[in-house]
């Protein structure tokens, strides 16, 4: 663990803080783009109940897609840079977010939805003010799953010369510098835990207290 605590590795444009910020940047932007694509799709299909099999089929097919191959293909087509990284990572982030949103909206009690229509809400209001807030726990579940995978997999971006914590893993591998590889791995795992904690905090702040599990028996 000496490598990780050497002050020389904590400064400069290739130091640990810079790589950490890069890695976090990849993760954040990937999740934002993934959300913009996956949440509307999942919510629409969950709300209308049409095309559920498409969502499930698409999620499973995307899940089997090897991220390394997607990354390399896009690099070969579009050249090096951050673009291929985002394509590969967004494709990875979509299935869990979409599945979580879809399952969350579907799982909202139909009685609640009927009541919302009964008091005269429009369909957009039913979706945005009733279904989505009620679906938030499962949507967050999808986001947390996606975030874990994206943080872990963003490591591979370094294979095609991009930045992030993967640099330490691949540079260490090239130099047979085990300390550097281990430091990279530990930092990625730490970042994953921190991101998950961040989501847990966000979830506490945004999810209605009425949806929290009651006691130890869970919500009934």
């Amino acid at each position: 663990m000496g490598w990780l605590f050497d002050p020389a590795h904590w400064s400069g444009s290739t130091g640990i803080p810079v790589r950490l910020v890069e890695h976090f940047g990849y993760t954040l932007l990937t999740l934002v783009i993934g959300a913009l694509i996956a949440v509307p799709l999942g919510a629409f299909v969950g709300h209308t109940g049409k095309g559920g099999f498409v969502i499930v089929g698409l999620s499973n097919a995307l899940r089997a897609l090897p991220t390394t191959a997607v990354l390399i293909l896009v690099v070969l087509w579009a050249g090096l840079g951050d673009f291929p990284v985002y394509v590969a990572l967004v494709l990875l982030a979509i299935p869990p977010i979409m599945a979580g949103t879809y399952a969350g909206v579907r799982a909202v009690d139909p009685v609640t939805v009927d009541a919302a229509r009964g008091v005269g809400m429009r369909e957009s209001g039913v979706l945005l003010q009733v279904e989505i807030p009620n679906a938030l726990p499962l949507i967050f579940g999808g986001f947390r799953g996606a975030a874990l995978q994206v943080v872990a997999t963003a490591t591979i971006a370094a294979y095609t010369g991009a930045g992030g914590l993967g640099r330490f893993v691949f540079d260490g591998l090239a130099l047979q510098d085990f300390g550097q590889m281990l430091a990279g791995a530990v930092l990625v795992a730490l970042l994953a835990v921190l991101v998950d904690l961040g989501f847990a905090g966000l979830q506490r702040l945004t999810v209605s207290p009425g949806l929290r599990p009651v006691g130890t028996g869970g919500k009934r």
């Binding site: 097919a61 191959a69 293909l73 874990l148 997999t153 590889m181 791995a185």
Partner: protein, 212 residues
């Protein structure tokens, strides 16, 4: 697409390696997760230890685990065991929860009836609890298998075999067709394995199909 047909022997060779590297860890991991899952389904303490531990293991990126494994167990970096051990770890991390949830969901009255009929614990587990837990267990096994098949490719980044080799070689020689061949191989293998497990699950649990 033409690459596959022009290099059929090579494609078949990496398919074999890929299949071995993904199936062996699933089998080992599944066998290990049965006693652990059983323990977690019976004991609150076991759950409190195993579940958070499994979550943490899951956050370690596969490339990192593949790189660390040889140092931890003292083998060369180009040994296949370096992919097998991390994938066993991921499989166990995923399956412990699946097996525990599946066993916990076995109806209490069925267990009580088996006890009343004089089933001994081991026989009851093998002939009552475990079969009834199969649908949920197999659902977990399908996820583990598909993610393993997709993850084996990561091993190629450090020089190990499987479809991932087509990715790295294709990248180095600017051969899009070769990368696509590996991608198609991975997806087809994943879909086939998933379908096979679904079928096995249906055959093993004929009671799940009646009474709907």
């Amino acid at each position: 697409m033409t690459w596959i047909f022009e290099n059929w022997e090579r494609f078949w060779e990496v398919t074999e390696v890929h299949l071995r590297l993904s199936v062996v860890p699933v089998v080992i991991g599944f066998v290990l997760s049965i006693p652990l899952g059983w323990w977690a389904s019976r004991s609150q303490t076991a759950r409190a230890i195993l579940f958070p531990f499994a979550n943490i293991l899951f956050t370690i990126p596969s490339i990192a685990l593949i790189v660390i494994t040889p140092v931890l167990i003292g083998v060369k970096i180009l040994d296949e065991i370096n992919v097998i051990v991390p994938l066993v770890v991921y499989t166990v991390a995923l399956m412990v929860r699946a097996v525990a949830d599946a066993l916990a969901a076995v109806p209490g009255n069925v267990v009580a009836a088996a006890n009343a009929m004089g089933f001994r614990p081991l026989r009851r587990f093998l002939t009552v609890d475990f079969p009834l837990a199969l649908p949920v267990t197999i659902a977990g096994l399908r996820v583990a298998t598909v993610s393993n098949i997709s993850m084996v490719s990561v091993g190629a980044l450090v020089g190990l075999g499987g479809y991932g080799q087509l990715f790295t070689e294709g990248y180095q020689t600017d051969n899009t067709d070769k990368v696509l061949a590996g991608l198609i191989g991975t997806v087809v293998l994943a879909v086939l394995a998933d379908g096979l497990l679904l079928l096995i699950g249906r055959l093993l649990t004929p009671w799940a199909r009646v009474g709907r």
